[in-house]
């Protein structure tokens, strides 16, 4: 029977066909980089297998398993715990993965990832078509592949494809995304060869054509997908133009690939391709162009396209054949099922924080800001199970930590009441969202999600209720458990003996819109809160100077988004003074002192304080003799951010 969402999104949920394989819908689970959950030698771990079971159950018609490197030496290995497919000893785990995917009724595709310029993580060098030095310090010095080595690499790919098919996969995929070996050969930037593999687009595409041919010969009955850049975003380095990128796609199509997955950007690209500052749907024109150029080849696409309704429209309008989705499914593995059941308001949204990638590039397993379970599927302690003893839980604070704890505990059968002194849920996140220059809707969607889930699950939310000792006495013995998730506050007490401290303004009051500031503003604190409010004010026409005690601004910002803030600071003309602290405030301005002992007067109308922050943990002391169990979570224990708040809230919810 057709589900209501399937009827609404009928184009997305229509069956498809890839080669001889029927696919139940038009949704392709993208390989999503790698998880870093595996062994250093490329072996697949129980942690990974547990994760893949979840991926298999996402409801996608086609599931691409994460990229495996194809060579024993590890020249193609880019990530610390990337899986390998160069030997039959890895077969049993690949067989299990293929089986999980098939058991879920999906088509199984294995990606082969030779990272080229970004590879050789254990070797101290990487291989490329030409010796083009690195532009990012993350990567290793290059060595040029000889013609003989090129043949070997191609054979390794074909061998890996054959092995994947032997393991039970239906199809394979070779990826050039984002600047891997295939891209290195294709690109004018990294391919400077003078032999038949370099020079013209025709020559640069030779490696790809030979690769396709070798894999097709090795696995003639199985479809091959190839991931190619629609745009490299490497113009400044002399990378391929869009025309050249599509010419290379044409070559792939002519060679008989079954699917082209259109991608955007290299890791070295100076602009964002799928971060939170990119509007959803921004890159769709690239897949639309590919689909028009190659009507007989299946086109998959998903860069910065998190919305099933938009994907449905794209399939309907011929923008692409398959919605390639990954990160939204990290945030909520139930996304497709919820879309099919028309329960999109219950989807835990991907907010594009790129926490996942921030961690990968620090050789850590990827996690998700929004999904605390990600990467812990193998651990029973992380699963939401019915509570043995049902408890009455009160939660102080309706921010992300409190709301996450509330809905998780409620799912386990506890009775949950959330108290907050504000007139709406969301805590400081609401204020932060209101000032966010990237895309406020993303952060607001987190609050909306908690509102929907609290209502659906029957979490009682009592707003405009301040929790203090008097209040606690009024509800004494009504609750078994109290979770203090009251967030943090600006520690104004630090400035209490400062001359003119009465003139200071609390950043949170400004963020909430409760306090207006003058034209010229000094912001004390160049962390996430200080910068976000400063950027908002600067965009609104204020002249802003940020004072930071540390050497650098943005110290608490997610690495993959820090660059955005520093760029905004520059673009908006925000002045920064680092290694300095506030010494005096007057109606005329602020005086700061640097670590070198230099004093500086900055004329301004308002001085806002965003740092330091102090955990609102006072209630712990007040409540410790008033309730059976007392816990704390999120900023109320240590001021940090959204990721820690949600994860701690969840861990409390599954534990109590």
């Amino acid at each position: 029977m057709t589900k209501p969402g399937e009827a609404k999104l009928s184009h997305l949920f229509q069956p498809g066909r890839i080669g001889k394989f029927e696919v139940k819908n038009r949704i392709k689970y993208g390989a999503c980089c790698v998880s870093n959950y595996n062994g250093r030698d490329g072996t697949i771990t129980p942690r990974e297998l547990a994760r893949v079971r979840v991926i298999a159950g996402t409801g996608c018609g086609l599931i691409t398993n994460q990229g495996a490197y194809p060579d024993a030496l590890g020249e193609g290995k880019s990530y610390f715990r990337q899986i390998a497919i160069h030997d039959d000893k890895f077969l049993p785990q690949f067989e299990m993965i293929a089986r999980y995917i098939h058991d879920a009724g999906a088509m199984a595709m294995q990606q082969i990832l030779h990272a080229g310029r970004y590879g050789g993580i254990d070797l101290g060098y990487c291989v490329q078509p030409s010796v083009v030095p690195q532009t990012l310090p993350h990567f290793r010095p290059p060595r040029e592949l000889t013609k003989e080595q090129i043949k070997v690499v191609i054979a390794q790919h074909a061998d890996a494809a054959k092995r994947a098919i032997r393991a039970g996969f239906d199809a394979t995929e070779v990826t050039s995304f984002m600047g891997y070996l295939l891209a290195n050969f294709n690109s004018r930037f990294t391919n400077q060869r003078t032999d038949e593999y370099g020079g013209s687009v025709e020559n640069r595409g030779r490696f790809m054509r030979e690769l396709i041919d070798a894999i097709k010969q090795a696995t003639p009955d199985n479809p091959l997908s190839i991931r190619l850049n629609g745009a490299e975003l490497m113009d400044r380095w002399g990378g391929n133009t869009q025309e050249e990128s599509f010419e290379l796609m044409q070559q792939a199509a002519d060679c008989g690939v079954d699917m082209i997955s259109v991608t955007v950007g290299w890791q070295e690209a100076p602009e964002s391709s799928f971060g939170r500052d990119v509007e959803p749907g921004y890159w769709n024109f690239l897949s639309e162009k590919a689909k028009k150029m190659f009507p007989n080849v299946l086109v998959a696409f998903g860069n910065r396209l998190p919305d099933p309704a938009m994907a449905n429209a794209c399939v309907k309008d011929g923008v692409f054949d398959y919605w390639e989705v990954c990160r939204p499914l990290l945030a909520d593995p139930e996304l497709i099922h919820k879309a099919a059941e028309d329960r999109m308001e219950e989807v835990r949204p991907c907010i594009g924080s790129l926490n996942c990638l921030s961690r990968l590039f620090r050789d850590l397993p990827y996690t998700c800001t929004m999904n605390p379970m990600l990467g812990h599927e193998v651990e029973p302690e992380y699963h939401v199970t019915e509570a043995t003893e049902k408890k009455r839980i009160m939660i102080i604070g309706a921010g992300p930590a409190g709301m996450e704890a509330a809905i998780t505990a409620r799912k386990r059968g506890h009775s949950v009441t959330v108290f907050d002194k504000a007139d709406k849920i969301g805590g400081a996140l609401g204020a932060y969202a209101a000032n966010d220059l990237a895309r406020p809707a993303d952060l607001q969607s987190v609050i909306d999600y908690y509102g929907v889930m609290a209502k659906k699950l029957g979490v009682e939310v009592r707003l405009n209720t301040e929790a203090n000792a008097k209040f606690m006495r009024s509800v004494l013995h009504e609750y078994d458990v109290c979770i203090v998730a009251a967030g943090s506050r600006t520690d104004m007490a630090v400035f209490q003996y400062l001359e003119g401290s009465e003139l200071l303004v609390d950043a949170l009051e400004v963020a909430h819109g409760r306090t207006k500031v003058g034209k010229r503003v000094v912001m004390i604190g160049g962390g996430m809160i200080g910068l976000t409010i400063s950027e908002f004010l600067a965009k609104a026409g204020h002249e802003v100077t940020v004072i930071e005690q540390e050497k650098r601004i943005g110290g608490d910002i997610m690495p993959t988004f820090k660059w955005r803030h520093t760029a905004w600071v520059d673009e908006l003309g925000i002045q920064t003074v680092t290694l300095a602290h506030l010494t005096k405030v007057s109606k005329e301005g602020a005086t700061v002192k640097t670590t070198k002992g230099e004093e500086k007067f900055i004329p301004c109308d308002s001085v806002i304080v965003s740092s330091p922050r102090k955990a609102n943990h006072d209630l712990f002391y007040e409540f410790q003799w008033m309730v059976d169990e007392l816990h704390g979570g999120g900023d109320a224990t240590v001021p940090r951010g959204l990721d820690a708040a949600i994860h701690e809230g969840y861990r409390l919810g599954v534990r109590i």
Binding site: L136, L354, P559, K562, D570
Partner: protein, 154 residues
């Protein structure tokens, strides 16, 4: 080779003054740390033609910053291609960037360089990996140019 004035980079004394003004950025750097600047046009390191830079036909001037005696010194050396140039970081400036740098030497030159990088007027290559650069004390300098934040899947 050191010259007082170079046609490409201007007054070396002005560069030295600029480096002295920003000496705190180099405090953590280890002795011998080196940063080079070359002209994109002169070196032949043009977009899509980097090999010409690797195998540069004739030697061209390179502005080298080298950490010695506790401070960063500016000098003009010869650039004979990437493979033979012993620098940790190479910045390749086009004509517009060079002109802008020359005219801004008395001001906030590092911010100017950061903007030139962002605008694509100046390319950069790294010859040490992240850990090596961190160990060599490059963090503050890379940060001042915005380089530490660039790249890696945004």
């Amino acid at each position: 080779m050191t010259t007082a004035t170079d046609q490409t980079f201007g007054e070396i004394a002005s560069w030295q003054s600029m480096l002295d003004r920003h000496r705190e950025l180099f405090l953590d750097m280890v002795q011998g740390s080196r940063i080079g600047f070359v002209s994109r046009e002169a070196s032949g390191i043009l977009p899509g033609k980097h090999l010409d830079g690797v195998k540069v036909a004739s030697e061209v001037p390179m502005l080298a910053w080298q950490l010695e005696n506790g401070g960063m010194s500016a000098r003009i050396e010869r650039f004979a291609g990437m493979s033979s140039t012993k620098v940790d970081l190479l910045l390749v400036a086009d004509e517009e960037a060079l002109e802008t740098m020359r005219s801004e030497l008395g001001g906030d030159t590092l911010t100017v360089i950061k903007r030139l990088i962002r605008r694509g007027r100046m390319m950069f290559f790294v010859f040490k990996n992240k850990a090596q650069l961190q160990d060599a004390g490059y963090e503050d300098f890379l940060d001042s140019l915005g380089l530490a934040f660039l790249g890696a899947c945004r």
